[in-house]
């Protein structure tokens, strides 16, 4: 190392070419673009819209639960939590990180010009919006009242809301997932730059690869499920109806065969984001790169074999329950390994606490708390007690909201300069990150207590003695709402008023930082040649080497 001379942080000459944002300015140039970066921004607009629609429903839920008497009519309350679940799961969480940051950064991180199938990518956005229109139709006409899980025979025979429209929205939405996943798999297999071997891929790309495999294999099952549900509801073929020889539990098996992997669809990309942020702000290599890749793929594969842990009290054979409990503990092992590796990745670092790092550290803590409560739910006898209560609500919100949404905001801040060419106001961002953490814990930690006390989920009322915990939770939700709205304001402001970002404002090693901010339409002036792994940070001398092999002092 001593013979190497170190340049300053690379200054890439402002190119004569305009960036992807400014090359064309017509509306048509956005709506018919095939540029993965523009499509990522289109997706970003769509999912942000649905995040606030789903969030609005959550706000109504928490307002209603602030008092036992409630605020909403029971039928409205039931429709609000159903639509909150459907919109947040399929219209925000599942597409969130893959369609935005995955779309934008997978080609940049592997040194490609675009995804393998740019037209399919654009089609995916149109299909997503079509499904979005259908779900908005369902919502405006009167919404579904089944819970997001559509359990039969309630959903097929007894519910009188817009179940068919909601199910069709989910059905159509699945095709968008499948197209996006296929695109990522082919891109990562075929379009890596010279020298970008599998074991040199950034962990974010590995995570997107793992999640794409799960999406591509699980989502067709969802299409079958929702199709059969629609047929059953309209014609009553009796597949899930015991009066015609059907089995209500068959629906649960089929639904969770998709929807449990879907939980990992929501968390794997978040794990990838955090694996990028932590080395960058700790200024040291990720601990156990190979272990992290193995853990990602192990989670992706094992996620298919744990679905019946949603059914421990549903009347499956108790020995099936035992088998699925064991498999569930197995899938927790790679998750635990990842937590330890992220934590030890701080050891001997040179740590700064910028907003993305605060979000990432928050992610690790919230994910760990969601994880240990997941272990409690995997333990059969404890699940018998807390299944169907607020304990479960708290657990999966820690994973899917606490962890995934924190990672989403972390990614948004980390890559904001690359996407927009502008920095963001650091103090405001740190404030929002801390506020998210405080608001989140205040919202959901009391729900663990409520759950063990026995408060059933999906109830519009509760006994008066539980009000204190519900008030705390609702108070936390209002803080959380501020923390989620705040970035909308200061990031919006930053586009026009903040300082311009140079190519590599965080002194990071990935290929996406070797091209100007914002990147030109074709990403790179020349095809990058990769000579080493992704996290060559040297905390001892505060230096780093990019994946192309260029050493820099920070």
């Amino acid at each position: 190392m001593s013979t190497t001379t170190f340049d300053d942080t690379p200054r890439i000459e402002p190119t004569a070419r305009p960036s992807y944002l400014t090359e064309e300015n017509t509306v048509a140039s956005w709506l018919f673009t095939r540029d993965h970066k523009r499509i990522a921004l289109l997706f970003f607009a769509s999912i942000t819209f649905f995040f606030f629609v789903g969030g609005g429903a959550a706000a109504l839920i928490r307002m209603n639960l602030a008092t036992p008497e409630g605020l909403l009519q029971p039928s409205l309350y039931n429709r609000m939590f159903t639509m909150h679940g459907i919109i947040m799961v399929w219209f925000f969480l599942i597409p969130s990180i893959p369609t935005t940051f995955g779309n934008f950064f997978v080609p940049l991180m592997i040194g490609a010009r675009d995804l393998a199938f740019p037209r399919v990518n654009l089609l995916s956005w149109y299909v997503f919006n079509l499904s979005g229109l259908v779900v908005l139709y369902a919502l405006i006409m009167g919404a579904a009242d089944t819970g997001w899980t559509f359990y039969t025979p309630l959903s097929t025979v007894y519910a009188n809301g817009y179940v068919f429209a909601a199910a069709m929205a989910v059905f159509i939405n699945g095709f968008s997932s499948i197209m996006t996943a296929l695109n990522f798999i082919v891109t990562i297999h075929r379009l890596r730059a010279p020298g970008m071997t599998w074991m040199r891929l950034p962990l974010f790309v590995w995570a997107i690869y793992a999640v794409s495999v799960v999406m591509l294999t699980a989502t067709p099952v969802l299409a079958m499920d929702t199709f059969l549900l629609a047929v059953e509801r309209f014609i009553g073929i009796g597949l899930f109806d015991p009066r015609h020889g059907g089995d209500p539990l068959l629906w649960q098996h089929m639904f969770w065969f998709y929807s449990h992997p879907a939980v990992y669809i929501m968390i794997l990309p978040a794990m990838g984001v955090v694996s990028e942020i932590i080395p960058c702000y700790a200024r040291r290599p990720i601990f156990g790169y190979a272990g992290m890749t193995i853990a990602l793929m192990a989670i992706a594969i094992l996620s298919f074999f744990v679905w019946a842990h949603h059914m421990f009290v549903a009347g499956i054979s108790i020995y099936a329950g035992v088998a699925f409990s064991l498999l569930t503990f197995f899938v927790a092992v790679p998750s635990a390994i990842k937590v330890f590796n992220w934590t030890v990745s701080l050891h001997k670092g040179r740590i700064t606490f910028d907003a993305p790092m605060l979000y990432a550290l928050g992610f690790v803590l919230l994910f760990t708390l969601g994880g240990v409560t997941g272990l409690m739910l995997a333990t059969l006898a404890v699940d018998v007690s807390v299944h169907g209560t607020y304990f479960v609500i708290a657990h999966f919100h820690y994973i899917m909201v606490g962890a995934t949404v924190s990672a989403f905001f972390g990614a948004l801040h980390y890559w904001w300069p690359k996407m927009t060419g502008r920095l963001y106001p650091e103090m405001w961002a740190r404030f929002a990150a801390i506020l998210t953490y405080v608001g989140f814990n205040l919202t959901f930690f009391p729900q663990f207590v409520l759950g063990y006390l026995g408060m059933p989920r999906r109830s519009y009322t509760y006994p008066a003695e539980w009000q204190i915990w519900n008030v705390l939770s609702s108070a936390g939700a209002s803080i959380l709402a501020v923390a989620y709205l705040l970035p909308l304001l200061y990031l919006g402001w930053s586009i026009f008023r903040e300082r311009k970002a140079d190519a590599n404002p965080w002194a990071a090693t990935g290929l996406e930082w070797t091209t100007p901010s914002p990147p030109p339409t074709h990403n790179f002036e020349r095809t990058p040649r990769v000579s080493r792994g992704p996290y060559n940070y040297d905390p001892e001398n505060d230096r780093f080497i990019t994946q192309e092999g260029t050493p820099h002092a920070r």
Binding site: Y151, L249, G315, F329, V344, V372, L380
Partner: protein
């Protein structure tokens, strides 16, 4: 109104004690894991913050040793939790011989309870303390879930079959009964109370309900009214049909070679769908009764068949 902030439910049954211990152990382990992660994170964040001058030399590069260490450690801890949880689960869901049996029917949005003596209640269940109470549960419409937080017991009640659940209350008093499976508009109000009484009080309560016929007697009437007795009756010689005397709880060999224990769910299946459960050696001539009998009537018929004798320890 309340005088203190509730943070722990009552522990009022033997089932609850066992689950509670496991829950407390897991809270302890979870706390330990959280403390470890937080302590490591805080230590590193302080020692290795940018401004700190601690040495960063000799970064650990042989990471696989650590990976194996915490894989083995977590797997070991998880397996202990798994075995503990699974043992208790099997115990929770395999009813011991019952002192009392009660039939429960869930429907939108109430719990209907029938005692073997014919006593009926809605959204309430009176039981004696320190007795094993076995519930046989049916649903008339959608899936419900029978949950008593103070007993830590829960089981979904799925239409189309019968489910069983048991408990042994250790405290007298009134405890919440809930439905924890979303079952439509008034799911939130599908609640009731479990009233646990001393044995003499319970006997008095049963006597004071003004009942004329036991559940089995009501079942016997249905048995005749629906023509079951024509073939399955004691003196029936016209048609060769399996005798129901002493049937309950025994092992039945079916025509298709499979073997079933004649528990409540089996009896229900046979009444509604007899051609699928033809007993070996008998002609498949029984008409099916699906659509003719409600869940309440089915339970009465089953109570009658059980009153004809059999092995009492039957259960899943």
């Amino acid at each position: 109104m309340y005088h203190w902030i509730p943070f722990w439910p009552d522990t009022a049954a033997v089932n609850a004690v066992v689950v509670n211990n496991l829950y407390i152990a897991e809270l302890g382990l979870s706390g330990l894991i959280m403390v470890t992660v937080v302590a490591m994170m805080l230590t590193f964040c302080i020692r290795y913050r940018k401004a700190a001058s601690n040495s960063r030399a000799d970064l650990e590069t042989k990471t696989w040793r650590f990976e194996i260490l915490w894989t083995v450690a977590t797997l070991g801890a998880f397996l202990i939790l798994f075995v503990w949880g699974a043992q208790v689960y099997i115990w929770l869901y395999k009813p011991p011989p019952a002192d009392e049996e009660v039939y429960v029917v869930g429907k939108q949005w109430m719990w209907k309870v029938e005692h073997p003596g014919g006593q009926r209640e809605i959204d309430a269940l009176h039981v004696p303390v320190n007795k094993v109470v076995r519930l046989v549960m049916a649903s008339e419409d959608v899936i419900h879930s029978f949950f008593v937080p103070a007993f830590r017991i829960k089981h979904d009640v799925v239409p189309g079959t019968l489910e069983t659940l048991w408990f042994k209350a250790t405290k007298t008093g009134i405890f919440r009964l809930e439905c924890t499976q979303y079952c439509g508009l008034q799911h939130a109000t599908m609640q009731g109370e479990i009233v646990v009484m001393e044995a003499p009080d319970y006997a008095n309560w049963l006597d004071s309900q003004g009942v004329e016929e036991s559940l089995a007697q009501q079942g016997a009437e249905l048995f005749r009214a629906h023509g079951c007795s024509g073939c399955h009756g004691k003196n029936s010689t016209i048609i060769h049909a399996p005798s129901l005397t002493g049937l309950y709880g025994t092992v039945v060999h079916l025509q298709d070679g499979s073997i079933r224990v004649a528990d409540e769910a089996y009896l229900r299946d046979c009444i509604l769908n007899p051609r699928s459960f033809t007993v070996a050696g008998y002609p498949p001539v029984m008409p099916d009764f699906s659509g003719q009998l409600g869940e309440g009537d089915l339970l009465k018929l089953i109570a009658y068949i059980k009153s004809l004798g059999g092995k009492r320890e039957a259960g899943r």
